[in-house]
């Protein structure tokens, strides 16, 4: 298929940036979206032009590095996938595809479609861990029973890949789904109880400090999340925060 691409080009963080049109031809439906971008870049390099910068790494939907806003949707039109797992068969010949970076004040653009998501890391530094030494001198792994349900629900929360689609999708650029997922994982497990109050307070404080917006319960984040992280996690985080405040 032949496509027109409208891509956000921005030299660096200071540049104003603009949309630029490109044509790609003979795109196969079996290609992933990023492979289509590879074709474009090879074309640009061979023509002596600057290729489009975009983040990507594992290309199997688990590292959370890829991050494109495609036709107004984080990770494009398919559900439950990251951009690297989005296939071109979702599009048809003659389509115009608009490609933008994640848009959020807390995720400044580095170049073209590459954004800086360090804010997510800093939220994790604020409390996204259990304070246990890594010396191995802990109790036996089976010493504390954990119900299958708690373990499975914690796992569902822990499956977050930290891509930032929730923030990019949210009209408020809220990071509540991301933070809620981490808070939930530990809140559901006995290991997380000791530091529960401090954790949620500190992580939420850091989230606010980074300039993410608040949650107004539209639920777009859950729809666009490639890993299907549930809104329940936001509710659980709010509950944890309430508990920590009284």
């Amino acid at each position: 298929m032949d496509l027109t691409l409208k891509i956000w080009r921005q030299v660096d963080a200071k540049d104003k940036g603009k949309m630029v049109d490109y044509k790609v031809t003979e795109i196969s439906g079996s290609m992933s979206f990023l492979e289509m971008m590879d074709v474009l870049n090879e074309q640009l390099v061979n023509a002596g032009d600057e290729p489009v910068a975009f983040d990507h790494d594992c290309r199997e939907g688990i590292c959370g590095m890829c991050s494109m806003y495609i036709n107004g949707e984080a990770h494009g039109p398919d559900r439950g996938v990251t951009t690297c797992q989005l296939h071109m068969r979702m599009f048809k010949d003659g389509d115009t595809i608009t490609i933008e970076p994640w848009r959020a004040a807390a995720f400044p653009v580095i170049k073209d479609l590459v954004v800086n998501r360090s804010a997510f890391d800093r939220i994790q530094h604020a409390g996204g861990y259990i304070s246990v030494n890594t010396s191995g001198n802990t109790q036996d792994a089976n010493a504390t029973l954990i119900s299958k349900k708690a373990a499975d629900t914690a796992m569902d929360a822990a499956t977050c890949i930290g891509c930032g689609a929730c923030v990019a999708t949210c009209k408020n650029s809220s990071a509540m789904l991301f933070v809620g997922a981490k808070v939930s994982q530990y809140a559901l497990l006995p290991q997380g109880q000791v530091e529960a109050a401090d954790r949620v307070r500190n992580m939420v404080a850091q989230m606010d400090l980074e300039g993410f917006g608040n949650c107004t319960n539209t639920g777009a984040c859950e729809v666009e999340c490639p890993k299907g992280i549930s809104l329940d996690n936001i509710a659980r985080m709010n509950r944890e925060l309430m508990k920590a405040s009284i």
Binding site: D12, S28, S30, M31, E35, D38, V39, L44, V45, N46, G48, D49, E50, A53, D57, C58, R59, E60, I62, C63, G64, M65, V81, Q85, H87, I110, K111, V114, N116, R117, S118, D121, Q124, H125, A126, G128, Y129, I130, V132, T134, G136, T138, A141, N142, T144, L145, I146, S147, K148, A151, D152, A154, M155, A158, T159, I161, G162, Q185, L189, Q191
Partner: protein, 665 residues
């Protein structure tokens, strides 16, 4: 330099304990004055960074990704082995040790593997304490699965995302230390050289991938945890950025590179669909428990299927060649990874590949649908069920077991594997070779360590499933923190290492000049052009089966391609900006050197062992034929061009395990 593995004396079960009892320690106040650089933040690098920081050292960690959490350990699916014997099925430290050595086709170092098995149980305790949500049974205890053909259930897992959860565990431990200021994290940075001062590794030169700035970082020791080099094949299951550069730079500064030709090629991956393909996706090999592998018996059917005029489901049983069942009647579709992979290649090379590229075989679940369906009909007391009913009942069982894999397959291939057989093909997955290390995990460069997949590891010529995660965390959490202390105990009076020395100056100059050259070259071919060409040579001649002539040709072709690269490569943009093409160019340049050494190593190793299969050395049944004289680790010393590399041998002695032939009859 003669190789000294520094394996402690004494009975194998006492070596590690005795070792720990007698090493030098660094007191807490002195640790504050010692800096350690860790390159890579996967399971090995992440766990090492966290633990070293926790002990009190000042750690600087480097990752080319935008966060430590993205390292490719995250993609591991199946699980992590540990000799916990929670299932009471006869597991023990010795049995895990034995399975690992045997699985590696008797080409790994006994003492290292034993230590790995010994600390394995601790990993699970540690990870649970960190809040890793391992799968549990209904009683609340940890669940196990069996894996990779061993006789016990020792694999712990977190859905199909065990690597992700373990990495996030290590990442959380790092975050705690980053918050305390004990780890300084350098995201989007790539190590481009190691700096050696007075014979010791004392720092690195790194490039900030955002600004292009070249930076000097000093430390008292440097730890390489940069993963494997499977991307030398261009197509692999590795992440796009995975590369050999950190390890290769250290090699060029004196670290021996061991067993480069030992590669694991995994049989059940989704086939390539075209030349644009950028990476390959793995599906758990557990699929082979219920799928039958075949290609058409007759060429006219192959061609008709490729044209689309015939469907695979239209072929009768007589028109199908279940080649694994035919060749290996006893093991059938459950032969080991290397055998299954080679057999698929053999059929495809003979022209029987079933997709457009000619590189695919079928993995068919129809027989399982029927078998499970009939069983279910009996269980539910359904009299005279129709064929459709049987299929429906059978599919429900298969869906419960492999639903997520079937879904993933359908997303990628756009075919419904419940209605038509899956297509699979082997893909490069893991590299057992890497930097040579002694018992301390130190390379032949004093003060430079290599851990995880980056070292030549504990896996010999073939790695067992669920053992990569185990080794990464064992090295980082429990081994390196001891061994590096023994070395650093001599450095308590050294003080901060200056970056203003001639050695740093020279290393930085070398790095800068190379980058400038690449940018100024303005050639005619893109970096990917060369990477793809290299990948094709590697896959065709250094892949699943190798022979003298092919390897000799490969050496010549890679050498010529490298020359062509340096003359004609085109890198757009400048050196002082975010420039992915430039970063890639540096990595491919190193792959072009490694590839040749790889072929050379494969040529010299005139035997077959594990993932290394030399066509000249096979049994009558086509199995790998080991040769006693090659019971050694090949460790290559850099001497300029790869063709000049000098081979050193570390003889492998087996005192606790009897060396036997592997047989699948």
């Amino acid at each position: 330099m003669a190789l000294d593995s520094k394996v402690p004396k004494g009975p194998i079960q006492d070596k590690w304990t005795e070792y720990k009892n007698h090493i030098n320690l660094v007191n807490p106040a002195n640790k504050r004055n010692i800096d350690v650089i860790v390159v890579g933040t996967g399971l090995a690098g992440g766990s090492a960074s966290a633990t070293l920081a926790e002990l009190g050292y000042n750690v600087k960690s480097f990752a080319y990704q935008d966060s430590p959490r993205r390292a490719h350990s995250i993609a591991a699916q199946g699980g992590i082995n540990a000799a916990k014997n929670y299932q009471g099925d006869g597991d023990s430290t010795y049995r895990l040790f034995y399975d690992t050595v045997k699985g590696g086709d008797y080409r790994s170092r006994e003492a290292n593997v034993y230590r790995l098995a010994e600390v394995s149980a601790n990993i699970i305790d540690q990870c649970v304490a960190q809040g890793v949500p391992f799968a549990r049974d209904y009683g609340g205890l940890l669940d196990n699965r069996s894996f990779g053909g061993v006789l016990v259930s020792r694999t712990f897992y977190a859905k199909g995302q065990t690597g992700q959860q373990l990495l996030l565990g290590a990442y959380s431990a790092m975050n705690r230390q980053i918050a305390r200021g004990k780890i300084e994290m350098f995201n989007r940075h790539e190590m481009l050289d190691v700096v050696i001062v007075d014979g010791k590794a004392r720092g690195i030169i790194a490039r900030n991938l955002v600004t292009g700035e070249i930076e000097r970082h000093s430390a008292h020791a440097v730890v390489i945890a940069s993963g494997g080099y499977g991307n030398v094949y261009f197509l692999s299951t590795n992440a796009m950025g995975s590369n050999v550069t950190a390890g290769w730079k250290v090699h060029k500064k004196g670290a021996y590179f061991a067993n480069p030709c030992y590669t694991q090629i995994h049989p059940t991956c989704i086939p390539r669909s075209g030349d644009y393909q950028s990476k390959l996706t793995l599906m758990s090999e557990s699929l082979r428990n219920d799928g039958r592998i075949w290609v058409p018996k007759h060429m006219e059917d192959v061609l008709a299927i490729r044209e689309g005029s015939k469907k695979p489901t239209e072929l009768t049983e007589e028109q199908r060649d279940y080649y694994l069942e035919r060749r290996y009647p006893a093991f059938g579709n459950l032969v080991p990874r290397d055998v299954a992979s080679r057999a698929a290649k053999e059929r495809s090379d003979a022209g029987y590949g079933v997709n457009a590229t000619g590189e695919a075989v079928y993995l068919d679940f129809a027989a399982s649908f029927e078998r499970y369906g009939k069983e279910q009909a009996k269980i539910h007391n359904i009299q005279n069920p129709s064929e459709a009913k049987i299929k429906e009942l059978g599919q429900a069982i298969v869906k419960a077991k492999y639903g997520n894999l079937f879904q993933m397959y359908e997303k990628i291939v756009d075919q419904n594997p419940y209605e038509t057989p899956m297509m699979i093909y082997p893909a490069v997955h893991y590299t057992m070779g890497g930097l040579w290390v002694d018992y301390n995990l130190m390379t032949t460069v004093p003060g430079c360590y290599a851990i995880g997949e980056a070292n030549f590891s504990d896996h010999g010529a073939n790695r067992l499933g669920a053992s990569a995660l185990m080794q990464g965390l064992a090295d980082g959490y429990f081994v390196l923190p001891y061994t590096i202390g023994d070395y650093l105990a001599d450095d308590i009076r050294t003080g901060t290492i200056s970056t203003e020395s001639p050695e740093f100056e020279a290393a930085e100059k070398e790095v800068t000049e190379r980058i400038e050259f690449l940018i100024q070259n303005k050639g005619i071919h893109s970096v990917d052009y060369y990477h793809k060409k290299l990948g094709k040579i590697m896959w065709d001649k250094c892949g699943m089966s190798r022979n003298t002539e092919g390897l000799k040709t490969a050496i010549e072709e890679i050498s010529a391609l490298r020359k062509d690269f340096w003359q004609n490569v085109n890198v757009p943009g400048t050196a002082t900006e975010y420039n992915e093409q430039l970063a890639k160019a540096g990595r491919v340049a190193d792959f072009l050197e490694l590839g040749e050494l790889f072929a050379k190593d494969a040529l010299v190793r005139e035997e077959s062992a594990g993932g290394h299969f030399r066509e000249e050395h096979q049994t009558e049944d086509g199995e790998a034929k080991r040769i006693k004289e090659f019971q050694f680790v090949s460790a290559w010393e850099y001497k300029g061009e790869p063709k000049d590399a000098v081979l050193h041998k570390e003889q492998l002695e087996y005192e606790n395990i009897e060396v036997k032939e592997r047989s699948y009859k």
